[in-house]
Amino acid sequence: MSFDVAALRGQFPILGTLVHGLPLHYLDNGASAQTPRAVIDAVVSYETTARANAHRGVHALAEAATDLYEGARADVAAFLGGVPVEEIVFTGGCTAAINLVAHGLGASLKAGDEIVVSELEHHSNIVPWHMLAERAGATLRWLPVTDDGRIDVTALGTMVSARTRVIALAHVSNVTGAVLDVAAVVAAAKAVGAKVLLDGAQRAPHGPLDVAALGVDFYVLAGHKAYGPNGIGILWGRATELDRLPPFMGGGSMIGRVEKGRITYAPSPRRFEAGTPPIGPAVGLGAACRWMSGLDWDAIHDHEMGLVQRLLDGLPDIPGCRLVGPAGLQGRFPVVSLTLDSVHPHDTAQILDSFGVAVRAGHHCAQPLMDRFDIAGTTRISLAPYNDSGDIDAALLGLREAVRRFA
């Protein structure tokens, strides 16, 4: 397979949109990626030819809806390395998936136990664990972050102990783009019998995974960051781990039998999917996984890293620009954060918007990381396969204008 960025861009209707009369340069993919026609068509097809509830009816539309919903689960399982479909739980999003695991593991936590996170986590991978620690009397331990924005795995030796029950970390930082040394984390966890959860929100949009081979116990991802719809996410858990977790929410579908004095629960994944599921979004995410699985990710990786290099090469020409994260291409994904000495990130993003450039600015729901670097926030440029050199050049032009305006 070869990679043709122009042809890929043609699959994304929104990329033809004009912003303030200018071409759209969408570089906010870390917040929400755009959606290809294949995903839109899959959702429209469900809504127009098979809209019904899943796992409930016997009529034709209900059968079709159930087939589409479970087919989407199979597509996600294939994308994650061919894991069993029973290990794929549809959730409302990444945050919901982490909360599900935190709630489930909480049943076995006790005072004195420890949960290891890091200073660069998204709030969605901090707050659920903080809440759990408060409930259980457990303690959060924080892996430090290196000066180049990586989780410092050399600290695992002092942070992980026999008291550690869970290690919950970002696979790829949503601020610095740094990728985690998963093997080091898994080795440290196995040595003490701790569970490992990876937040894959920023990793999943950049190609298929083999989650079982990573050696972790749980992996979560967000549909809307992986070219799918909003309101859908994935929890993957090893069957042995999911089977140990109690239900999260109660309701229809997740039961074995309900009697007045006794309730039994369904096996995974149904035990964790109470109520009518988000069928349309799940169908869309399944289509997104099929779409991603059909791309040449070696070529796309080269393309994305080429754009990161183009950006990194341009930043030294912008007065007062500082990179927050890895300086090179090694051990990173295409998420780049920066600060400008004389310009607040929100003002930078506002001026970039006037060039048609969409970026994210602020603390990125990673306030402990902002504290680590003693900054209010950053301007973040996050790439997807459909970005091209014109997007990078427009961003660099806007950054220069931001500096000039506030000089």
Binding site: H20, V343, H344, P345, H346, D347, Q350, I351, D353, S354, A361, G362, H363, Q367, M370, A376, G377, R405, F406
Partner: protein, 135 residues
């Protein structure tokens, strides 16, 4: 669009940092965060015996709009009591929502009527001052 938002007067107000600093003996302090962006404003005031603001100093960790707003507010806050500050807030709300033009430097914030997502940047100093006045 950003050219209008960051017109010269706004940039000048942001850079002027009117009222920035600390008071030696504040009688009240108010601090407010914008949880969405992480910006923070701290207002220190010294009240006279009549309940009016005799001195004011602020510390802003925020964007240019927040800095400019703190400057514009500081220039008009001294000599006013809580009701007077509420009047200023109403004036600024009118400017950024497009229902009034505002006086003096407040008028420079008129482009905010086209940028709803940035209005909280402008009102954060007012919120911090209101917190200080509430004791």
């Amino acid at each position: 669009m950003s050219q209008a938002l960051y017109q010269d007067r706004i940039v000048a107000l942001a850079k002027a940092k009117l009222g920035a600093g600390k008071l030696a003996n504040p009688t009240a302090i108010g601090e407010r965060d914008n949880p969405l962006c992480g910006d923070r404003v701290r207002m220190e005031i010294a009240l006279g015996p009549d309940g009016r603001i005799a001195e004011l100093a602020h510390k802003v960790r925020g964007c240019a709009l927040c800095e400019a707003s703190a400057s514009a507010l500081s220039a008009r806050a001294v000599g006013r009591d809580a009701a007077g500050i509420a009047t200023l807030r109403a004036e600024m709300d009118g400017v950024i929502t497009g229902t009034s033009d505002g006086e003096g430097d407040f008028a420079a914030f008129a482009p905010l009527r086209d940028h709803k997502s940035r209005r909280d940047c402008v009102t954060l100093p007012f919120e911090a001052l209101r917190a200080a006045l509430a004791g």
